[in-house]
Amino acid sequence: MDLLSFARGPALKVALTIFCLGVVWRIVGFALLRIRLDRSPARASVPKFLAGGLLTIGTRSWPHPEFIARTGAGEAIGYSYHMGLFVIVLLFGPHIAFLGSLFGFTWPGLPSSLITVISVLTVTLFLAVLFRRVTNPVIRMLSNFDDYFSWFITMAVMATGIAATAHLGGPYQTLLAHHILSVDVLLVWFPFGKLMHAFYIFPSRAINGAILARKGATS
Amino acid sequence: MAILAELVGLLERLASGDLPATIDLRSLPMSPQDRIALQSALGDGEVQATLDAQGLSSIRETRVPGLWWVEHRDPRGEIIAESIEVTRIPQILMSALDEIGAGAAALRAQIANTHVA
């Protein structure tokens, strides 16, 4: 079996299986954890603190005015590359066809040349982010394998994708195989590292917000 | 145009006794405009030959002696080969020796028949 057939055949099948299994495992494992019982009287009604939870997702998505000066640049870069990633994954023709084959429906996309521009910008932001991680002493001290590998595998997916679309650096089959293989590795890694923030971020903010709202605090 | 420079080089070599050469026009990326530009640069010379064998072909010397524009077409009229030959005379115009021999034999037979009649 040649590399391309392997990458998008058995390898993709296994990767998607591990991805589904791992994500469900971690979400269920986290959802069934005990929340420490708060024996103080609730300072807000149930609907109010549930609403507070949902509100927190929104409020924590934007920095407080006092911090913007210090964290603004980082936030902007972070938002930008996340949006770039979403646009590339969800609005590129061949990706839409692939996801359509999994879910049974498709949606309109963007011109491929625009996606290429966005990909190059996103890759540049990624490089900037790594630069910061490596040069800032505090962040460097806090960084572990998870941080570097998650960065690396996402970068590999983007770089191989650009190479394949631009037909740069070898026969198309090989470039495409490398791209799909890197996606396979990403899918297998996803549930076991910090990339799970994709699923955790909203529940985590909501739960914290609900807990605080019950205590009568806003955030 | 790069091809003109190449043709000049080949012509000079031919003039100094070197072997003929051919440039296959279909192997070069030429737009229709390039082709027209090349044709007007080389122009038409004194000789134009039409070959009728498995379709029509045109073999004509350009304004530049030694540069022959050869265009082969199939019986449907589609161009199947096009080249510029740098030569004193394109080989394809020469009569084949074996055909000359066969033709001579046929002509001799024809003369013999008319005599008998």
């Binding site: 469900v24 011109p111 089959q173 | 296959d24 064998a53 080969a81």
Partner: protein, 372 residues
């Protein structure tokens, strides 16, 4: 074509068919041009061939649909393509020859014997080995047997069509006849694969002509296909490439995009991974090729192209399992199994975590009551 005057020269044969030296030079020049050979080779090729005795060619057809031979013989400009039949001495072809039965078989045996070590063996169709070779038998002998014997005296073997080159449709899942390509049966002779379903006729004749003129196998790729014809993908030379680059894809056949000639990627075109000369040489004497006529490339010159998923699903659409099986159902099966397993693991992990949580809470309470 299949005369017993095996010793006349090519030139004499051409003359009998009213083809002059000049006409033959035209044919060789056009072939040399199509094969990116030096243009001077046209005259050299013509003169060399004309003076030579016609090389013997044995054409064996096994498990095939005869499309490859049709491609070769039903050409649009017969005087050009069928010239190959004047250049070669086609000493055996069970579809074209007038003889039949024992007479045909002994003609083949005689030709193989007389030209041992020098004849070109052309094969189309795959070779089935199932049922003791019973799925393809001629004259009481199995295809595998006939091939092995014919290969012994061949100067080279030209596998015409994807069936002979890679197994083709008989080889596709589930391969009920246990069909194999020629390369799986014969290992010790030079093999040239001219794949395609069918191959373009000019590709067949060009390859044959080059071999009989030079006696040398042309530059081949890793699938043993002549690089001069199979060195580029359809995508590399497709005239609809600007639409691919701009992301303008036709969504259904005959929609607005299709009528404007947009890229057929989403309609299943396998151009990017298919190596062939369709986009340049085209079909029917340069008339058109599938994409130009509005249908995506099937990838017919590639190994295993029948098992690469639907011809109408975009290349990036998951190509799992058997062609035609609905992917969403498979996705649901996989997802369901994964979710159930993951859920079970999650419950297990949560159970362990909760026990730890309870223990640490109990420890905190104990410490408080100890510490006072």
């Amino acid at each position: 074509m299949l005369h017993t005057d095996a010793h006349i020269t090519v030139g004499e044969m051409l003359r009998r068919h009213g083809i002059s030296r000049r006409g033959f030079i035209k044919f060789c020049t056009a072939t040399a041009s199509a094969m990116a050979l030096p243009p001077e080779m046209g005259v050299a090729m013509a003169d060399q061939l004309r003076g030579a005795v016609r090389p013997s060619v044995i054409y064996l057809s096994f498990q095939e649909c005869t499309g490859c031979l049709e491609s070769l013989t039903r050409s649009f400009a017969p005087t050009i393509e069928s010239l190959i039949f004047n250049v070669i001495s086609l000493d055996y072809d069970d579809t074209l020859m007038a003889a039949a039965g024992g007479a045909a078989e002994s003609a083949r045996d005689k030709a193989m014997h007389d030209n041992f070590g020098k004849y070109v063996l052309v094969v189309d169709g795959s070779v089935p080995t199932g049922a003791g070779g019973g799925y393809c038998m001629a004259g009481g002998r199995s295809a595998e047997d006939i091939l092995r014997e014919a290969a012994k005296g061949a100067a080279a073997i030209v596998c015409v069509g994807t069936c002979a080159a890679f197994g083709g449709i008989p080889f596709a899942d589930p391969n009920p006849t246990q069909a194999w390509p020629v390369t799986a049966i014969v290992g010790d002779k030079p093999i040239i694969n001219v794949s395609g379903c069918p191959p373009i006729p000019e590709v067949i004749t060009g390859t044959l002509l080059q071999f009989v003129t030079t006696g040398k196998v042309p530059d081949l790729d890793e699938h043993l296909r002549p690089k001069v014809f199979f060195g580029n993908t359809i995508h590399d030379r497709c005239y609809r490439r600007p639409f691919y680059d701009q992301g303008k894809f036709a969504k259904t056949f005959d929609d607005e995009g299709a009528r404007n000639g947009w890229c057929l990627y989403e309609l299943g075109c396998k151009g990017p991974t298919t190596y062939n000369a369709c986009a340049t040489i085209k079909w029917n004497g340069g008339t058109s090729f599938p994409i130009e006529s509005g249908h995506g490339c099937l990838g017919c010159s590639e190994p295993g192209f029948w098992d690469q998923g639907s011809f109408y699903a975009a290349q990036s659409a998951a190509a799992w399992g058997k062609a035609g099986e609905a992917v969403p159902r498979k996705v649901m099966e996989v997802a369901a199994a994964a979710v159930v397993t993951g859920g079970a693991l999650g419950v297990g992990s949560a159970g362990v975590s909760r026990m730890r949580q309870r223990r640490s809470e109990q420890d905190a309470i104990d410490r408080k009551s100890d510490g006072g």
